[in-house]
């Protein structure tokens, strides 16, 4: 699995590490990890509803923060569980851009086995950097 839940960190919250040689895949996997934090069986999410996201930030890790925050926003406002269908990141000058197409459906308690609600993404030990040709993201979700 391209992400893992870290056992002995963030006692009351959930710490996650995602890693991939492709930066866009790290964003995708980080989003999947956020959904997995809330739902035991993300494979049960039907791709019925789509949303597009365009984000910019001059710091790459904060771009990840904004992306994850957007998934939480859709969960709270439209009760949508969204997975990443397509995502691209690009650096233009000193700014990072993200364009993503997301798809999913509204939460259905009879099919989506709940875990815990995610309140927010924290800045605590937030990082996204390339190490030995592998992009590694680390973030803590507030529960």
């Amino acid at each position: 699995m391209p992400y893992r839940f870290i056992e002995n960190e963030a006692i009351a919250d959930v710490a996650i590490e995602a890693f991939n040689i492709d930066l866009s895949e790290v964003f995708r996997d980080s989003g999947a990890a956020l959904i997995k934090t809330m739902i035991e069986n993300p494979e049960a999410i039907c791709l019925r509803i789509g949303r597009n996201v365009v984000l910019n930030n001059n710091q790459l890790d904060l771009l990840l923060y904004n992306f994850l925050e957007q998934l939480i926003y859709y969960k709270d406002t439209e009760q949508l569980l969204l997975l990443t269908i397509q995502l691209t990141t690009r650096q233009t000058g000193c700014e990072w851009n993200l364009v993503a197409s997301l798809a999913g459906e509204t939460i259905d308690a009879s099919r989506h086995q709940q875990r815990v609600d995610v309140k927010a993404v924290t800045l605590h030990q937030l990082s996204l950097k390339k190490e030995n040709d592998v992009w590694k993201a680390h973030f803590v979700l507030d529960i």
Partner: protein
Amino acid sequence: MPEVDKLHQISDVVWELPVSYKPGMRVPARIYATKELISSMDDAVFDQISNVAFLPGITGYSMCMPDGHSGYGFPIGGVAAMDTQYGVISPGGIGFDINCGIRLLTTDLTWNDIKPHLKKLIDRLYQRVPAGVGSKGFIKLSRSDFKAVVEQGAVWCVRNGYGWSEDLELTELNGCINGADVRAVSEKAIDRGMEQIGTLGSGNHFLEIQVLRPENIYDKETARIFGLRGENQITVMFHCGSRGFGHQVASDYLQEFLKVMGSKYHIQVPDRELACAPFKSPEGQAYFNAMKCAINMSFANRQVILHRVREVFSEIFGRSPEKLNMHMVYDVAHNTAQVERHTFQGTEKEYLVHRKGSTRAFGPGNQLIPERFRNTGQPVIIGGSMETGSYLLAGMNTGAQTFFSTAHGSGRTMSRTKARNMWQGRNLQQKMESEGIYIRTASLSGLAEEAGLAYKNIDDVVTASELAGISRRIARFIPLGNVKG
């Protein structure tokens, strides 16, 4: 050397990290804990509480309460009093779940009265107080009504029929903090909160039916003043916060503060989660006014849940909530920053007291607590794990040492991920039922994360608070039934 070995022991329950512990600390850090509790704290607590000591304007000590554990920015249990003139305000010292708090109410029912109805009560509460991921409340509000709610808090609810006027007197800040200004709140925050009033949330949030046994009353006179008579009296306790609204307010201003903290105000902090701005700056005041809206949203949330609880009890027992004596004991806030007057080193002045996972605990004589509590100190509700029970304490005048702050719960000792790997929700649910605690939950794996053994011993937390003189025990409640998010 483990970090715990670098602590200086000040008393049996007070431990200090001197300013030499980390270059940049403006004040020492103090941790309130028994030897057992401090030995069980993770090293991140010491790192985080010493980071808090870097914040400009911090007065006295950066402090961690006995239920403290690692968090983000501040540890959970973190307390810091900032000078209001030249100090800062930091969302990381308040938390994302602004005014997460606990409310306790009494009934005139006994264990014998509810025994035949317990499952039905919990099942009905589970239906009427939505919990879990993405839950929505029953109150449908226009955008302008929601804006009125976040400016007026529980006062709006009582005016609109969701509660009794006495509920306001028995809520910290009378259920509404003055100065909330919705113009400081983003549209995203309003989007997230609009449909969530009356919902419990998830994680460590709960709604619990409890019994107060006579042997668990430690101060009968104070308990009587708080409305508790013992005799296997049934009480109801619930814990929840400002939901997505408060979470978004915190997220918005963390990012805003990151932009200006260094470039405009030249403040350096060792953790971005401690992003801050001078309290008197335009950014600091905007966050303060928005945070107050989230404080009010949370009071409104708990007020509406109280209304639902009263409805359910009334329906099951065929008597009005008034006849059932469903009065509030008190409602306390955990995650706030409030301007309060305190005396430090002989001088009384205003401080902005950040409490993150800590309860305000004013002692006897304080003019800001209801008159009925002026001789006892304010009630302090300590929510325990779903397996082990909860406490009611009272504030003490010796609490001045912590700017009248104390613990808020048991405090975790084990990560959620580890707990989920150790226990199975279904087995835990069955075990608890065999022990007389009936649970309804939106999430079995979430239940496993909340296992009693994932928390500190609540008796140790209360003992440490009492020995330190920051609050004293009045009563202990045993869980009978629980709705978990």
